[in-house]
Symmetry: C2
Subunit: 339 residues, 2 copies
């Protein structure tokens, strides 16, 4: 259709019901959603499994970028927050805030992309909501996804569990998502070269748990907004430890590296949407690194440093020249609407 | 503070971490959220209980209105979608889309109101998200809440379960929320007289299940956007039945009634945020109506009609003058951003 989002699509009448039935429910097709009731009624989790809940709003601009769009991103982002707690992702809720006048063709493309990403990840969108705001009171489309997962007994990763002596691993190159967005926003020449790494990480996480004793996996986190730098500082603060990271060992693609030099950005401050930070007991490092590298999403995994004693929670970088500098939280100009 | 929302509050760095710690985590205070991890890890549900999931974005304008604000509304709205499936609400996820420049004092007021409403309902906000969009790309604040509830065995209300002969009950006066918003928006004189009915309905629902055999409760629904008219049409379509409603028996407050006449609105098209529609087996009508009336949120409950055979799913109104007219879905000018 050549239609556009109308205020009636959010007003609770027949136009809204039709949009939900013909666009959303058709794309997300599953029995829970098809009931059309106020909430989805889902089976009980497997006995002994804990419930895990994560939510993220997605306001990325532009809506479409190399490697993905707001739809696939909104599925991957929330799945990843479940996965890094060790959980198996099961269900998603999806809430849409549409701006009056937004093209229905773009909406359909985004919803199809969500449905494809959710299906590929084995997760169903079981309930949703649709609101419309007047022209100029939104920005095309915002999507909040909330995920429910099941956490098997024995798994208990958490940001407070890093211990001195632990190894710090990353599952691949850093900064790809953030730079893909920045490059497209600025219409830079290398725009098409750099693709977002947006991906669902739960299968990689399962592979890691299969490769070691669960208790050796101390922390898992997806280094999204704020990049690796903020993620390591968060974990250091939560655990009350320091970290020492080898700059030379941090994987960054040549394209992202040169784009960063051009724009005066640090790849360690850029968001990632398909990467894991893993902190593990030293005895498990080799097997976890090997398991990462053998997985399609971990080919360029690396051990980048180690956790050390430091009640102040400083993260230090051993630079390529042999010196040391503090790796601080993301500072300076914020990079808005990266996810 | 006299501060305003800054883009840095959504950028993933230290400013965001500080806002979350000092404003959100402090107000919502609970151990799950305090962990500060990527997702909340929650206990397994009681054995035999099914999981229920509901989500709603809240974009109401104005943000503050007689009887509530976007914060309390976002808690009540999602709790109610769990409650009308028969579930006990347990946890909420809350995702915020803030506009650059929004006053921190208003944000704090809204967050406090959410926290108060959640605490009163016995539900914890266990995980959240904070995004910031540039000035002019949002409208102050949008809040998406997602709720998780537990559904005890034996309860199975659903929109498809209405049967010919069933009674249709409502728990009180209709149109209060919608008219409270409209009146304030238009700065009408009776603005302060009409208060939103925003309230959490799960305790009323528990009272109803205690008053009868669970199988007698066929349908529960909260008549939000689109009002009673759309809600009855939805249920009629889902169940493949007709309905016959007595206009004279529908409770509407005198203030809402006269405001509707002034504005040319129909109270049956106006949103409610603290009312139940209940469709039950005829033998349970008297006890359920009595149970409603004995509850603080059901004092003006009424039986308004009955379900009849009609494969076309028509909802008809027996008017006060003795005639009949179709009660259609909300039509005409949509009432945007009522919730
Ligand atoms: N964008 C969407 N994608 C998938 N399902 C949706 C979407 N929007 C709504 N739904 C589904 O459509 C049905 C009706 O949704 P609706 O939001 O009208 O219900 P509600 O939350 O009870 O009402 P309100 O939002 O007015 O409080 C629900 O089953 C809901 O899960
Ligand atoms: N508005 C909020 N209210 C309550 N808790 C919040 C809020 N915003 C964030 N949080 C909590 O703060 C912590 C960090 O949230 P954050 O959104 O940075 O994590 P993330 O989802 O892993 O990252 P990203 O959003 O970049 O993907 C989480 O524990 C989250 O539940
Ligand atoms: Mg509802
Ligand atoms: Mg996230
Ligand atoms: Mg809804
Ligand atoms: Mg995360
Ligand atoms: Mg609702
Ligand atoms: Mg988040």
């Amino acid at each position: 259709k050549h239609g556009r989002v109308d205020l009636a699509f959010g007003a609770g009448g027949q136009a809204m019901a039709q949009l939900i039935a013909e666009l959303f429910a058709r794309a997300f097709a599953n029995d829970y959603l098809a009931r059309g009731d106020d909430a989805a009624v889902l089976p009980a989790l497997t006995a002994g499994e804990r419930l895990v809940l994560a939510t993220d709003a997605h306001v990325v601009s532009p809506l479409f970028f190399p490697g993905g769009d707001i739809g696939s991103l909104s599925v991957h982002g929330t799945i990843n927050d479940l996965a890094v707690m060790g959980a198996r992702p099961l269900y998603l809720a999806a809430s849409f805030i549409l701006e009056e006048g937004f093209a229905l063709a773009e909406l359909a493309r985004i919803v199809d992309s969500m449905a494809t990403a959710a299906r590929a990840a084995g997760v169903a969108v079981v309930t949703g909501d649709t609101k419309v705001v007047e022209r100029g009171k939104g920005d095309g489309i915002f999507i909040t996804t909330t995920g429910v997962g099941a956490l098997p007994a024995g798994r208990d990763p958490g940001g407070a569990r890093a211990q001195p002596g632990d190894a710090i691993l990353v599952s691949g190159t850093l900064g790809d998502h953030g730079m893909a967005i920045m490059a497209q926003r600025e219409a830079l020449a290398f725009e098409s070269e750099i693709r977002s790494d947006s991906a669902a990480l739960h299968d990689l996480v399962e592979t890691l748990y299969a490769a070691t004793d669960a208790s050796a996996i101390h922390v898992l986190r997806d280094p999204t907004r704020g990049g690796l730098a903020s993620t390591l500082n968060e974990i250091a603060a939560q655990s009350g430890v320091g970290m020492l990271v080898d700059e030379a060992s941090i994987p960054v693609s040549p394209a992202v590296q040169s784009a960063c030099e051009l724009l005066g950005l640090d790849p360690l401050n850029l968001a990632n949407e398909g990467k894991l930070v893993l902190i593990c007991a030293p005895h498990a490092t080799a097997s976890l690194l090997a398991a990462m590298r053998a997985h399609p999403l971990g080919g360029e995994a690396a051990c980048i440093g180690e956790v050390c004693i430091d009640p102040q929670g400083f993260v230090q970088l051993r630079t390529c020249l042999g010196g040391r500098r503090m790796l601080d939280w993301l500072a300076g100009e914020p990079l808005p609407r990266i996810c």
